[in-house]
Amino acid sequence: MRMYPAAFAYHRAQSYSDAVSQICQLGEDAKFLAGGQSLIPLMKLRLSTPRHLVDLGFIPGTSYIHGNGGLRLGALTRHAAIAASPDVARLSILRDCAAGIADPQVRHMGTIGGSLAEADPTGDWAPVLLATGATVKTLGPNGERSIDIAEFILDAYQTGLQPAELITEIAIPLPPQAGTGHQSRGSARWGGSGGAYIALKRCAPVYASASVAVQLTLSDEATCADARVYLGVLGLTATRVPAAEEVLRSGTIIDKTMEQVRRAVMDIAEPVSDMRGSADYKRQAAGALAKLAVDAALRRARREPVEVSHLYA
């Protein structure tokens, strides 16, 4: 039998704390395995050659979506489970993201925790979790930590995880719902939040060429109390676009605002030309995606049902 990955010893974790203590004992040549959808391709190419794998996949109770007072996602929750969950209804941006990652087969294995730990600069979760202000819960030799997502993702393939530390949960605050958070203009319909994530891809089983995540809270039909805009894929990490957020917060959103958002995104994007397209193509794409994502987020904040999907080109 031809064997692609270098040989390794297999260790099955019974619990998170078991996984942490096993990896502490095994030392630097050991790695955690979740769905394997990033690690296995790397191991087959021998770009990664761990001597020991500690399998998190059989630990009970690690895949869940709890929706009480904020969303809590178990680290081993598969992309497909998130895409299908009714509990993410108030955060449609999560479904946009989960449903657009690769193809059904990859979504059936890949996990949100593995995705975050991998911190692939072209991964889809980072911009979305940044836009929604997520917190990453971890367990390590020194106990549990809660890390703000903005401090968790440090650089391409670099996270705030310490040796032998693992992700246990991702917590996402629920945005204000229409008519609850903000009371204004005598209408209970305003004050809602909406978000959207749109990526441009060449086809399903490849990573995106450009992507934009937008999460807005309205104080009024067309005025934003809060706005977060993140650009994915085009840098070493997801890039916040403060100029676009400022424009969105600065007054009634009209066609001109959308154009300013597009410009702000294009100004900050630093794409490089590669097989996914030229730098200019990607910059233009990011600008166009930003307009689409803001439009979808706005309409969702107004409670219009809007289906968003990744674009294929």
């Binding site: 064997m3 040989a7 390794f8 297999y10 394997g36 391709p41 191991m43 449903a99 089983p205």
Partner: protein
């Protein structure tokens, strides 16, 4: 360095039959199926997680078996193309692919059959978009996909799809 190549013992039910095997830990699910169990209906196309020729169902969900370690299926249920036909009768999805000529060389077909079955289980009357999304992880170099769509639509309009 490791002294000897480490092995694992796994127990997997494939197409309803249980197998217990001891394997090198690094064995991929597709290698386990093809080379240990001689179930060569599952194909290897790209071997880089892209083409979906190696698609099988693991616990009711499609996976790319070239990108899954065999031990990840331990204790689980695997369905391969060999498990589709029953008592010498083609599965409705197979029959539809045959009737609609949903293949030419047939290399991609085992993977397409499993992905089609899964999408029909999720969307018994799929929209065009459901079909597109459902087979997005499978590549066919021959057909241009038209007849694959036709086959899937035929099953959707027809009998119950079993499994």
């Amino acid at each position: 360095m490791l002294d000897a190549i480490p092995r694992v013992r796994i127990s997997v039910t494939v197409n309803g039959r249980q197998y217990v095997r001891e394997l090198e830990a690094r064995t991929l699910l597709v290698q386990f199926l093809r080379e240990e169990l001689n179930l060569t209906g599952t194909h290897i196309g790209c071997d880089t997680s892209y083409c979906g020729a190696c698609t099988v169902m693991l616990n009711g969900q499609t996976v790319k078996s070239c990108t899954v370690f065999a031990f990840q299926a331990d204790g689980g249920q695997v369905l391969t193309v060999e498990g589709l036909a029953k008592d010498g009768e083609l599965h409705p999805v197979q029959q539809a692919f045959s009737d609609c000529h949903g293949f030419q060389c047939g290399y991609c077909t085992p993977g397409f059959l499993l992905s089609s079955l899964h999408l029909l289980q999720e969307h018994p009357t799929p929209t065009e978009w459901d079909i597109r999304k459902g087979i997005a992880g499978n590549t066919c170099r021959c057909t241009g996909y038209q007849n694959i769509f036709k086959a899937i639509r035929t099953v959707a309009g027809g009998e119950n799809i079993g499994h």
